[in-house]
Symmetry: C2
Subunit: 350 residues, 2 copies
Amino acid sequence: MLHEVLPLESGEELVNPTLHYAVYGRLNAARDNAVLVCHALSGSAQVAEWWPQLFLPGGLLDLERDCVIGINIFGSCYGSTGPQSIDPATGEVYGPTFPLINIRDMVRVEAKLIESLGIARLKLAIGASIGGMQVLEWAILFPERVARAISIGVAPLGAMGLGLNHLQRQAIMLDPAWKGGYYGDGPQPEGGLALARALGIISYKSVPLFEQRFNRKPNRHGEENPWISTSAGQNGRFDVAGYLDHQGEKFNPRFDANSYIAITRTMDTFDPVRGHESPFVAYSRITAHLTLVGISTDWLFPPEDIRSMAAIIRAAGARCDYREMASVHGHDAFLAEPEQLVRLLTPVFE
Amino acid sequence: MLHEVLPLESGEELVNPTLHYAVYGRLNAARDNAVLVCHALSGSAQVAEWWPQLFLPGGLLDLERDCVIGINIFGSCYGSTGPQSIDPATGEVYGPTFPLINIRDMVRVEAKLIESLGIARLKLAIGASIGGMQVLEWAILFPERVARAISIGVAPLGAMGLGLNHLQRQAIMLDPAWKGGYYGDGPQPEGGLALARALGIISYKSVPLFEQRFNRKPNRHGEENPWISTSAGQNGRFDVAGYLDHQGEKFNPRFDANSYIAITRTMDTFDPVRGHESPFVAYSRITAHLTLVGISTDWLFPPEDIRSMAAIIRAAGARCDYREMASVHGHDAFLAEPEQLVRLLTPVFE
């Protein structure tokens, strides 16, 4: 817990916030072997649970060599201060009044934590999606404190991504169990959160992947027939519908609706050049070796946006290379094809 | 009204259904100048209201020459039998028990209507989206009764489209005002229908179009600031969010939630080869001059799916050419860029 008032870019503040973090491996004597792994929307500080492939033999990280740190972002429900926390100002749970967290707010507090561990300079900061947003702001805000940075599958959200986030929040708030965000200890808006998650999943996948996996097959579980009516005007589900419903259902027990709203709003804020005199002034601050990774079929963060951003960063004089995963998996490729990601990034370390 | 029992592919039936249709211009003495214009999801028989550009000077149709007929599809709320109609079997409004209508059911009853008007052979059947689905089934089911067919922006829905339709229905049914579909004369599930429409709109547009129009600008109406919190944890909307909310709001007064569910289910059923011995047997029935039009940025009905379908149809021995609209507008290009569509199709008539 930080015993202080943390000012936020929105003008609000967090009083005595808690940061939950995890450490794998050991800091060496020089404290120069620290790797910060930043997590995405529904991730946690427990990096080994949601991105275990980084740690495999021949992977990017080696716990005999590296000290890996994961930090849970504000707004989440995995230990750090979020909507389920008590607001010291009121003594009540924040719920929907949890303040708007900017990616920069998160990175600034992460930097405090890293500093408190006696780490002057991270060996590496790596992350994908919202994790990649944090990595890029690390490289801009704290250039001397990160040697190497890898940001995967991310650029400022375009209008399509902003629209999709908006509709995911609308789905949650449509659910009568939402109660304006004050569902408290009661049942959370499960239907709305499931629908939001399903829509998010659609944005993390791709048209060709869905075609390969599901095509026009009926639901593989049970005996559903989409060609006839069932009771109350429903008809049997196609396979993709069964998949989407299942993804929504299994998300509910592990995530909080207010957190989903808070974190998608944070995702919307990411804009590394905002507030700087110019993109060149912002990006010329970067001294880390920066690698940006795009994914060929990612339609949430199109690879051409990431490639363009890399070009601007290089034009600003920073060292930045762009690499692309050729994958049918869309945005999720960084989790779905870890071997390809490792192959792509291994030269970065050599 | 048809005084008969109409058997449906689902095994259900429609008793004494009503077909609402509109006629523009006049049938000539030979009754060979009839053009059937099939409408899409939220369209009506009133072709001149939703696709007026077809009728402009230099357009595809000329009311001095052609007799244009529009027919409202079952399940809709613009005059033909749909969920708001009385079920003769119960004396109650169908509501959510409206039977599953297959595109072929629709085309068979359209053929009856056309026949009842003394028209032995349509000069042209043209339609886009669900309208294009009807056109293709016309060409297969009634080859001798249509001379020329133009099907725009459509192929059997792939898994992504099936998934999107499923989530649109889930949105409607999540709304507490849905009441299982029995909202009757009471307020309809407006929040759910607005959300469904907004998600549909996203599928009819494209990432580059959204980028051009909205980018990361804040809402152009009012003074919304996405960078700060407002009351109850909301923040100001980005421009794209204002647009999507507006599209949803203006849809409610003109459409019915049960109809939206019924028609998206119909859209899911489209599969011109299903039930035939093979695709070749199905498509070799076609004797009309058939033109399929794809749209370059359409991600709901990807142009490569339509091009492939055209190739199979030609391989089956039918006359089928494929043309592509180069447009940033996505699926909606057939409405958004009518001049280009006319230019593309004019050679078809020459």
